[in-house]
C-alpha cells in the first residue's frame, strides 16, 4: 500500500510550487503529520506534513524544481507493506484534482441528451446519453426557420422547404440557403412585396409539401370555407394580405373600366376539336384560357402601355410580358404568373397555365410562381359571370376578365342574324397610366385577335 504525495495548493490563486528542501531522504521513516518537505510558492513557504505513516520510498521532484499543484512529488510506502513491489503508476493520489466524470449541471446533461449528428470520432463523449426529454431550445427550434434563414431566403426568393437542410435534424441553416442560392445561380431579386401578392401564404402553405395532396383548410381558413351566420372569422395571413392589397390598389390606382363583346364561336370550335387530343397528349384539359392569354399577349405587344406600371419617377414599361392568372380557391385567391407569356404558343400557355392551376389547387405554388406579374387575366366566366369590374393587381396597369360564353343571336357583318358564342371581356385599368383611347385600342386588338383564331390555326 503506497501513498502518492502531490504538490499541494498553498493558497488561493497558487498554481505551482517549488520543492525548497526535502526534510526526509528516501528510506526514512515518516510519521503521519510529520513534516517531510518544504515547499515554496510566491505566496508562502511551508513545510508539508505527511498524510500517512510509512517509509519515504520515492522522491519524484528534486529540490529547486517547480511543478504544478497536483503533480506527484513523492511516494510513501506503508510500513507493513515495505518490501512489496514498487507502487504502480496507478497508485491512488491523495490530492489529485478530481477529473469529474460528469461535472455537468442538470441542464447541461439535458442539453447533452439532444440527439446530434455524430461528431467525428475524435470528439469525446461528453457523458452518458440519457433519454431525458430534451428541454433545450436547440431541438425545439429546429422545426422553424431561423431569422437569418428567413431573411436570406427572402433575399434570394427561395422557398425554405425546397432546400435540403444540413443542420441538426435536417434543419435548413443559413449556409444551406446561401449554397442553394449559388447553385441556382443568379443574383438575388429584390424582395418587392408588391410584386408577390400572397407571398405570406405561399411561405405558409409550402411548408406542407410532401404531405397530403390537397390541403385541408383548418382554423380560420376552415371557418372561411364554411362560414356560420353570426360568426366572426379570424383573419388568416392570406386574407389580411389580400385585403391590404385590394385596398391599396383601389386607393392608389384610379380605376377606369371598359368592356368589349367578343365573338368566340370560331375559337370555341377550334378548342372543341383539339381538346381530347390535347388532354391525351399533355394530361391537361384545354380551356379557352390559353387562347385568351395568347390574344392578350399579342394585344399587349401592340400596346405596351398595358404592360406598364406607375412609379413616381415615371411610367415604367416592363420588359417582359408576365401574365398573372387569377385563381380562386376555397379560402383564398392566388395569382400565379406565366413568365414571358408572349414567347409561348397556345399549347405552351395551356401547359403553363395547367401547371400553375394544378399547383395552386395543391397549395404548392412557390414564391417565384407568384411574383413578377405585369398584367392579369381573370377567368371569372367559369363561374357564370357576364360582366365584372376587377381590381387591378397592385403595380400593374390593368386586368382583363373572361366572362361566361353565351350563345345568342348576333347581327353579323352582312346584316344577317346568327347564333354566335359571345364572350364579354372587361378591362379595369390604372387611369394614371392609360387613357380611354389606348384602352379601347387594346381591347379592340384583343377582340380582333380572338376572333381571328379559328380551327385552321395551329396550337
Amino acid at each position: 500500500m503506497a501513498t502518492t504525495i502531490t504538490m499541494p495548493q498553498l493558497g488561493e490563486s497558487v498554481t505551482e510550487g517549488t520543492v525548497a528542501q526535502w526534510l526526509k531522504r528516501v528510506g526514512d521513516p515518516i510519521e503521519k503529520y510529520e513534516s517531510f518537505v518544504e515547499v515554496s510558492t510566491d505566496k508562502v513557504n511551508a513545510e508539508v506534513p505527511s498524510p500517512a505513516t510509512g517509509i519515504l520510498s520515492r522522491i519524484l521532484v528534486n529540490e529547486g524544481e517547480t511543478v504544478a499543484t497536483g503533480t506527484p512529488i513523492a511516494v510513501i510506502e506503508d510500513v507493513a507493506a515495505a518490501g512489496a513491489p514498487a507502487p504502480s503508476a496507478t497508485a491512488p493520489s491523495i490530492a489529485e484534482p478530481a477529473q469529474m466524470a460528469d461535472a455537468r449541471t442538470p441542464s447541461e446533461q439535458i442539453a447533452a441528451a439532444i440527439p446530434t449528428p455524430a461528431a467525428n470520432g475524435a470528439a469525446r463523449s461528453a457523458g452518458p446519453q440519457t433519454t431525458t426529454p430534451s428541454g433545450a431550445v436547440i431541438s425545439s427550434a429546429s422545426a422553424h426557420a431561423s431569422p437569418a434563414v428567413r431573411k436570406l431566403a427572402r433575399e434570394h426568393n427561395l422557398v425554405i422547404a425546397e432546400i435540403r437542410g444540413t443542420g441538426q435534424n435536417g434543419r435548413v441553416t443559413a449556409d444551406d440557403v446561401i449554397a442553394y442560392a449559388k447553385q441556382r445561380g443568379g443574383a438575388p431579386a429584390p424582395a418587392a412585396l408588391g410584386a408577390m401578392p400572397y407571398a405570406g401564404e405561399a411561405f405558409h402553405t409550402t411548408q406542407q409539401i410532401g404531405g397530403a395532396p390537397a390541403p385541408v383548410p383548418h382554423g380560420a381558413a376552415a371557418m372561411y370555407a364554411n362560414p356560420q351566420f353570426g360568426q366572426t372569422i379570424p383573419l388568416t395571413p392570406a386574407r389580411k394580405i389580400i385585403a391590404e392589397r385590394m385596398v391599396e390598389s383601389k386607393h392608389t390606382a384610379p380605376h377606369a373600366w371598359s368592356m368589349v363583346e367578343v365573338d368566340v364561336t370560331n375559337v370555341w370550335k377550334w378548342r372543341s376539336r383539339e381538346k381530347d387530343g390535347f388532354q391525351q397528349q399533355t394530361g391537361y384539359s384545354l380551356t379557352l384560357l390559353p387562347f385568351m392569354l395568347r390574344a392578350v399577349s399579342e394585344a399587349i405587344r401592340q400596346h405596351p402601355l398595358l404592360n406598364a406600371r406607375w412609379t413616381p419617377e415615371g411610367i415604367h414599361v416592363n420588359a417582359e410580358i408576365n401574365l398573372g392568372i387569377a385563381i380562386g380557391l376555397e379560402t383564398n385567391l392566388v395569382v400565379p404568373v406565366i413568365r414571358n407569356a408572349d414567347h409561348l404558343s397556345i399549347k405552351g400557355l395551356a401547359i403553363a397555365a395547367g401547371e400553375l392551376i394544378e399547383k395552386a389547387r395543391r397549395n404548392r405554388l412557390s414564391v417565384d410562381d407568384l411574383q413578377g406579374g405585369t398584367f392579369t387575366v381573370n377567368n371569372v366566366g367559369a363561374n357564370g359571370s357576364v360582366a365584372s369590374a376587377p381590381i387591378i393587381n397592385g403595380g400593374q396597369a390593368g386586368i382583363v376578365t373572361m366572362e361566361t360564353v353565351v350563345r345568342k343571336p348576333v347581327v353579323t357583318k352582312d346584316d344577317a342574324i346568327a347564333i354566335r358564342s359571345m364572350m364579354n371581356v372587361c378591362l379595369s385599368l390604372d387611369h394614371r397610366v392609360i387613357d380611354g383611347l389606348i384602352a379601347s385600342r387594346f381591347l379592340n386588338a384583343l377582340k380582333a385577335g380572338l376572333e381571328a383564331m379559328g380551327p385552321t390555326g395551329s396550337l
Partner: protein, 334 residues
Amino acid sequence: MAVTTGTNVMNNVEAVRATLYEALKNDPRTLVMGEDVGPRGNVFLITKGFLDEFGPQRVLDTPLAEASIVGIAVGMAMEGLRPIAEIQFSDFIFPAFNQIVGEAAKTRYRSNGDFTCPLVIRTPYGGGVRGSLSHSISVEALFYHVPGLKIVAPSTPADMKGLLNAAIDDPDPVLYLEHKKTYRLIKGEVPDGHYTIPIGKAAVRKEGHQLTVVSYGLNVHQALEAANQLEADEALKVEVIDLRSIRPMDKQTILASVRKTRKLLIIHEDNKFGGIGAEISAMVAEEALFDLDAPIHRLCGPDVPPMGYALPLEEEFMISTERMKQRMREMVKF
C-alpha cells in the same frame, strides 16, 4: 502610445504589480490603499515591497472598512489625487456599494462636471481556487447596471497592464476586476514601458466563422482551449471574443462577429440570471435578430449564490472546458 523597448513574460499578478509599481514611480498623485497592502504586500503579494519603496502615505494600510476605503478614495480623487483603492476580495465589496454606485459613479454627473472622480477600484474576483462562499464570487453584474461606472475584466498579463494603465489614466471611476484563478495560472508576454488598452474595446482572440463565443476573465482561456481543440480535432471554426471591458461594452465587435457567424454563445462564470450575457443577448436580439441562425445561448454559473468549499460543489459551479466544447459543438452543428 506604447513606448516599448521589449517584452517580459509575466503572470497576471506580476503584470498588475509591475503596472502599479510604474504608476507609483511615475505619478506622485497615485497611491495604493486597502486592507493589508502594506507590510503584507496584499494577500496575493501584489504590492509586495511597495511600502519600503514608497512609504506608508502612498501604500496605505486602511482600517477594515470597505465603505470608507472607497469613500476616502473618492474624496482624494475629488481633491486631485489618483487613488488606486483595493477591495481585498470582491466578496467584501458590498459595504462599499453606496460609495461606488451612489457617490463615485455620480460625482461628475451630479455636479455637472464641477467635480470629477478619477478613481480605480481593484478587486480580485472569481472562483476555482477553493475560495468557498465568500472568496469566490463574481460581482460584475451587480455593478454593470450603473451608468458612469466603467468596469474592466482583463484576462491576459498584457491586458492587465494596458487596461490598468488606462484605468489609472481615466478621469472617471473604473472598477478593475482581476480573476483570482488567472493570477498565477496565466502567463504571457508583457511589453515594457507605459501603454494603454482602450477601455471599451474587445479583442478577437481567435477567428472563426461558425460560432461567436463572447467571454471574459478566466473563461476566455478555457474557451480558447476548447475552440482550438474543436478546430484541430473536428475542423470546427469558432470565433472567440475576449470582452476585456464589461462597460462600456464593445457592441461593434460583438455585432460584427455575430453577423459573420450568425451564432452566439456567451460564457461567463457569474450567475446566469441578469448576468452580462443577458445584456449581450438583448443587444444582439435587438440589433441583429435577422442575422441569427440559432438561438443565443449562455453558458454561465448556475443560479445559486456562490460555489461551495467542497470540491464537487466548486466544480459543479465552474464551467469546465469540456462543457464549453460540447456546447460549442452543438451550436456549430445546429
